[in-house]
Symmetry: C2
Subunit: 494 residues, 2 copies
């Protein structure tokens, strides 16, 4: 499949189309034959695997263990937690039968009407219910607590309007589900995990995020508090990138999960849940990429350094590739992943464009003159700059560059994000900044769901979060004029 | 949850019950609220993760990449490959609706009849069809080949009689799906991957396997040849532990996947698929465990060394734990995983039994006298022996023991397996050995499906495989008396 870079839509012409084309042309994902379900292609999956590995290590370092719970949830489980069923579970894949049979009227297969399930099964949209139904049997005494489980799984939410990675019917995610003896411990867990997500987003994805609480309207169905990390995309829209919920005793009560405390008294267990998904791929792509394609932070790049020989004839090719192999071997010893592209059926200019499209952080090119001079051409994807450097000390330089590029990508995103947080103090200003500039609007809000709803209907902007580090500041709500004690962040969002 | 070791059924009294209890009591898995679906508990999942990591590394070392394809498959896809639909796809979870709604007649939710899918979706029982439908768009020219993809996923086959790990409605697996330009290359790939499985089973699981071809009756639906690894459990029954299929051009023709070869001519693509699943957990458990519980090979043990303090009072406990921590730190540097069990609410005898149940390869115990003498008690799970050794050089000893135990467990299983391959040359002998001894029967077979079927009906034994290294040997079929050119392996199986 030839890469057709020339066809990539410019991001300032049509951001949405640019994104879709980029995801497909860079070989990250594509739509499948099943409505709303995507195929994650090898290059995209390789990035997701790096994300998984880093997150999984962080989960384990904070004391969590992985487990696996069923794909299917009995329909009746959803009704057990009242607000959960209200906020969820409506747009779901429903399994009603368990057998096909040959079509008696012709070829092919039909659903066997005799194989109807007594109770329908729902393909999990999230697993609180089935997990708390299981925890009931795991928890008797305070000695069984805390339970700190995570699962890597696929989930299904029947979205009507889907976009690759950002909103798909099936997606991959992890969901942590923890059980605690006290309210304080559960709240501390929810806070710990949102900080883990923040660290991952900033240190690995190079995406700065705002940590905050969701307003009651935007809370997870069944949660008493939802913490979120909110990232800003280059089109000025926010992307909720991970959430961590303090669930109180809601699920424990719904599934009757009690424990005997140290004093011998029965108490309901306290819960959290927290998750990030393949949506992070969308955040990664939209936070850094440009009109030439992806820009990947080195820590998540499947290929960190690509080497392209510039040659005439097979003899030159062989010599250059041999030298590349020496360099590659040194780089691999330092844990740097390398690809040597010795294809002879495409031109080097085509290869350059392809690896720019794929976001490879560093590109090395070497021709016969470089071989003579002991030099090499080094190009950086993040800055799109190139220079000729000595082969001497090249490995040190590249190792150092990995850190430098990682930091530069983060800093660039941080500067942009910071420039896109605008304090607004009137409704006119709110509307004007939202339309003309976009980004986060830091504004006073009266704290009522009615005002939040009215603002959303008027402008499509929602409260992304009440930042955890929001300062106390007296003011008046931009919409209602009623008193407010701190600013919250509004934005249009994905 | 207290471990109730005393209740573990003896394996020679009731092997099946022993297995079920062991899986649950050792904290590996349990049945869920959803018929046929299991919960894989943290300790079981930790073993599965180690299996996954080792296999994944082997797949990548042989040039494969991971990708992810949809959970759902349109019903019509199954009809495209005739023998595939015949052999498969009948006992499946069928999604017919995509929405629930509040029950108009009361509380709870019901399926919304207005949200019926135009075409039903099947929860994948295996992914050949959706993947080959996708490959059609990835493959145009010989330059796009080979495609070497693997996916880690959950699949669902609506089994009526389920057993934890061995046969569950939902299970976890990996499925490799490769596309090749030539028949020879595809056959070589199928052979390469069955050897990867063999290496994994023997080197990591310490389970010896026979590599062979399935008879046509037992082939995968849609395959031209199925290679298998067959392991022997301690009750004398065989367990198919992994398969690798040469699919010919069957799926390429069903989904019209053609490529332009070097001569500019259109040709159909050649295919393989190969998979292992959480069934391997069953093989691991049944190959090595005993009446005291699991016996885990060190390479797959989540905890390789457990340390139990023998103490009176908190002061002794603290001193011993401090010394343990020094040893643990040294062991961790060598990549050995360690747990110090300093619980003060259970006796050390209880702990000993618990870690035997959980199959921890090495147990260290230390009391005040050991502290004085510079000694430590070291117990091996595989031999159930213990000895007092010097703390001096302990880390070297343990590192060496990891290798020794791994090899010992394999050797023991190999000796048993070899002792359970019996050459039989008459029908009387066949029946007698099968009933009285069990294991593999190496016997002549006339090569017809009719004879295979008749033997199965008479004895429940099936042809497990035609070993790849079966020698040419003239003989007569044990059942029909017709001529045969080599022996095949029969056994009762899981």
């Amino acid at each position: 499949m030839a890469v057709e870079l020339k066809d990539l839509t410019k991001s300032d012409e049509n951001y949405s189309q640019w994104y879709n084309e980029l995801v497909m042309k860079a070989g990250l994902a594509e739509n499948s034959a099943v409505r709303g379900c995507m195929v994650i292609k090898p290059y995209g999956y390789a990035i997701w695997e790096k994300m998984q590995r880093a997150l999984d290590d962080m989960f384990k370092a904070t004391g969590h263990q992985n487990a696996y719970f069923p794909l299917f949830i009995p329909k009746s489980f959803f009704s057990r937690e009242a607000s959960h069923v209200e906020g969820f579970a409506k747009e779901c894949a429903v399994v009603t039968h368990y057998r096909l049979k040959n079509d008696p009227e012709g070829k092919g297969v039909v659903v066997d009407p005799a194989a109807k399930l007594e109770e329908e099964l729902i393909v999990r949209p999230t697993s609180e219910t089935i997990i708390w139904n299981t925890y009931k049997n795991w928890i008797q005494s305070y000695r069984d607590l805390p339970i700190l489980c995570n699962q890597w799984a696929n989930v299904v939410r029947w979205e009507m309007r889907t976009r690759l990675f950002l909103r798909t019917a099936e997606f991959l995610w992890q969901e942590g589900h923890t059980a605690h003896a006290t309210r304080e411990e559960a709240i501390a867990e929810a806070e710990k995990m949102i900080r883990v997500y923040q660290e991952f987003a900033e240190q690995w994805m190079a995406v700065p995020v705002v940590v905050g609480h969701k307003s009651p309207n935007e809370r997870f169905a069944g949660a008493e508090d939802t913490l979120t990390i909110e990232a800003l995309m280059q089109d000025g829209k926010a992307l909720q990138s991970g959430t961590s919920h303090f669930l109180g005793q809601n699920f424990a009560k719904a599934f009757d999960v009690q424990y005997v405390n140290k004093e011998g008294k029965q108490e309901y267990v306290w819960a959290t849940s927290w998750g990030v998904s393949t949506r992070l791929m969308g955040a990664l792509i939209m936070a850094h990429s440009d009109n030439n394609g992806l820009v990947l932070p080195p820590k998540l790049a499947p290929i960190q350094v690509v080497m392209v020989p510039i040659y005439k004839g097979p003899e030159q090719l062989q010599q250059i590739v041999e030298r590349f192999e020496q360099i590659a071997s040194e780089l691999k010893k330092r844990g740097i992943s390398v690809k040597i592209d010795d294809r002879d059926n495409v031109r080097s200019g085509f290869k350059f464009a392809e690896y720019e499209l794929k976001g490879v952080p560093v590109r090395l090119a070497m021709g016969p003159r470089d071989m003579e001079n002991g030099t090499i051409e080094l190009a950086r994807r993040d800055t799109l700059t190139k220079e000729t450097v000595s082969q001497q000390g090249l490995e040190d330089l590249i190792e150092q560059l990995m850190t430098e590029i990682q930091e530069n990508i983060f800093q660039k995103a941080l500067n942009y994000r910071n420039s896109m947080i605008t304090k607004v103090d009137s409704w006119e200003e709110f509307q004007q900044v939202l339309e003309e500039k976009g980004g986060f609007l830091s504004a006073h809000w009266d704290g009522t769901p009615e005002t939040e709803q009215a603002i959303k209907e008027a402008t499509k902007a929602t409260i992304r979060c009440i930042p955890v580090d929001a300062e106390d500041e007296e003011g008046v709500c931009v919409f209602s004029g009623k008193p407010s004690h701190r600013r919250v962040l509004f934005a249009k969002s994905y």
